[in-house]
Symmetry: C2
Subunit: 368 residues, 2 copies
DNA sequence: TCCTGCGTTGCATGCGCATGCAAAAATTGC
DNA sequence: GCAATTTTTGCATGCGCATGCAACGCAGGA
């Protein structure tokens, strides 16, 4: 491990007090400078409190001159509200998660909350995390695509910590969740593929997730209802590599599927890689692949993926709304299901009917 | 905006006190239960303090029974160290940034720091952010790929807040930075393309960034030194769409370039999209494209991008190290340049010499 | 036995701000 | 102009933990 480094050590002849050592400005300093009490300073920086314009401007002037900034930590301790929301998020290599994270940051930011990041290793126990989360005194916790153990949920409930699951439901009906419309989405995709006249349907799952189970179940239900059957079912485990492996299995069958529903875009993109590059298949003609998320890359020409879009910004808004209601104690828990749209591109054969919308974003809507 | 919601309002007949209203357990409660003083409890939870085993176990027992967790906020106020690092990060649609973020989270986590997220809009002033950052009392600040104004830097310095720039240098030599080896990387790429026997070199830049400027300058310098010239130079502005636009310009020239150096992978992937899908070019034969980052997608078969890899984990480590040294006051600032490797794949013609390494990760090393 | 020294403990205080309460000032109504 | 309000202000205190200091206990040496 070699690298270049250049720099200077802190000078030893500190004639003037180094900035870092200077005592930080507190509300008392401002109060003294402005000739008012510390309470007045506090009120000047707390919107909605009783303070005269004259005092306010005196305080503001003094604060500006001294470079005063309220100490958020002290405020937290005093109000016992941290204005922080913990976010437990899985590895970010699936670009859906960064997108969600960004949307969450924006949405919570608008309500005056900041995000404290807890990155989680896949398949790892949350117990050590739990402890940190509860210690950190966040006002709420958003768990993205993560299962929550009942003991974890209990402990959060006990300590009064609002929890909202995002993109994943829980078994117990004790925890709020915001999810995309997996059932409706999968059904729409099934209809779409059916309308496209496909024969052999396959599903590439993601292990151990309510989302994957829901999508698979709804997909199967539609197929059964229409006297079709699931030709093949494999598990890509939400991993690019593993999906590649199982995709090769699918495409090496004597009777290969002609319609593959992937549990999400990331999985679908891996499937496209294999189909195009390794098997030289022309998507939309020889093989149809559909995903879920409508992540940014789905729209890239090389992929041109037909996918059921999840309205990320809207989902984030619902998370915030749910969280705030729980913080206000107006709500114990709730379950929000956000519907999306089937965005039609070139990776799957397009039915003769049901397509609408402008060329750059065509939508497929059954029965309407 | 329609969605489904189900849930229950909080019951009004609260016979027992709701969990959220119950007073949280403090160190005093534990002290009383364990028959010791509050200081003892504090010491029990502070590693490296003087406490006997007997007292420690008594406290631990009581704490476990009461479900006590130290209040991090109070600890912050008391120690005036938040164990929080602010991270200012640009929009995450370029997957390099989520990867960096994750690496930072892991690296800082190992040193007991958590990340507080500040997402920044591209091209937006940081002034409002600055205020929030300083108020939030983070112990340090990492700015990813973001320029820092001198006034911002001054204010941070004045308040003693250590700042480390990641993937971007600053003009003033007052702020620490950790960057990939742009100069060496660009030079290596130039050599690589030169050795591959290309004729017409082009560069797709990213506006307004030291990184882009450095890479372009080093690329040009090499070309000039070897009596070659830059056939074309366009600006993709780090945007997928804009890169598409300028890429079309490049490929529509009477004399189109045969070697394109893209400022980063994200830009390169967009370029590949246009070259492959719109112009049907076979990369590595008719046209060579090279990027920088070695992001995950670069390795995807559909892209198969030759790229100068940036060792993300290592860069994150250096950020942490730099930050910790500044926190300890052992260092004013430093500049770390982390070298990478040119990962050879199929998007650019491969020279006859200099390639080594296993098939799954071939490296090109000049002059060795 | 007494003293020294070390390891452990509790006491008291401070971190910086928010806020209930009462006093003071400003405003209103008559 | 004066009393009744209403608004503004300051005082005092608390949020929960860390920590300097002094007191304490215990072991070893003289």
């Amino acid at each position: 491990m070699k690298f270049l480094r250049s720099g200077f050590n802190r000078s030893h002849e500190t004639s003037e007090i180094p900035a870092a050592a200077r005592r930080p400005i507190t509300a008392y300093d401002v109060a003294r400078a402005a000739g008012v009490s510390q309470s007045a300073v506090s009120r000047a920086f707390s919107p909605g409190t009783s303070i005269s314009k004259r005092t306010l401007s005196k305080v503001e002037k003094a604060a500006r001159e001294l470079g005063y900034r309220p100490n958020a930590i002290a405020r937290m301790l005093s109000t016992s509200r941290s204005q922080l929301v913990g976010v437990v998020i899985p590895p970010l290599n699936n670009p859906f998660y960064p997108a969600l994270l960004e949307a969450l940051s924006a949405a919570f930011g608008r309500s005056g909350y900041r995000l404290l990041l807890f990155t989680s290793q896949a398949q790892q126990s949350f117990d050590p995390l739990l402890s940190e989360v509860l210690s950190s005194r966040v006002d709420g916790l958003v768990m993205v695509a993560a299962a929550i153990s009942s003991s974890f949920a209990d402990e959060c409930k006990q300590s009064g910590l609002p929890v909202v699951l995002l993109n994943r439901k829980t078994d117990s009906r004790d925890v709020s969740s915001v999810v995309g419309a997996s059932r409706v989405g999968a059904e729409t995709i099934a209809k779409f593929l059916h309308a496209g006249g496909h024969r052999r349907y396959a599903f590439i799952a993601g292990s151990e997730s309510s989302t994957s189970r829901d999508r698979e179940a709804a997909f199967k239900r539609y197929l059964i209802k229409h006297d079709l059957k699931l030709h093949a079912r494999v598990d890509g485990n939400y991993s690019f590599e593993q999906t590649g492996v199982v995709m090769r299995q699918l495409l090496s069958m004597k009777q290969r599927p002609d319609a593959i529903f992937c549990v999400n875009d990331h999985t679908a993109l891996s499937a496209i890689n294999v189909a195009r590059v390794e098997y030289g298949l022309e998507l939309g003609r020889e093989l149809s692949i559909v995903g879920v998320d409508d992540s940014e890359m789905a729209g890239w020409p090389v992929f041109d993926l037909t996918t059921y879009g999840q309205p990320i910004a809207l989902m984030a808004e619902h998370v915030v709304e749910t969280m705030l209601m729980q913080l206000d104690g107006k709500l114990d828990f709730t379950e929000v299901i956000v519907p999306g749209e089937l965005v039609v591109r070139g990776s799957a054969r397009i039915p003769k009917w049901g397509v609408s919308g402008p060329p750059e974003r065509r939508i497929w809507t059954p029965n309407k």
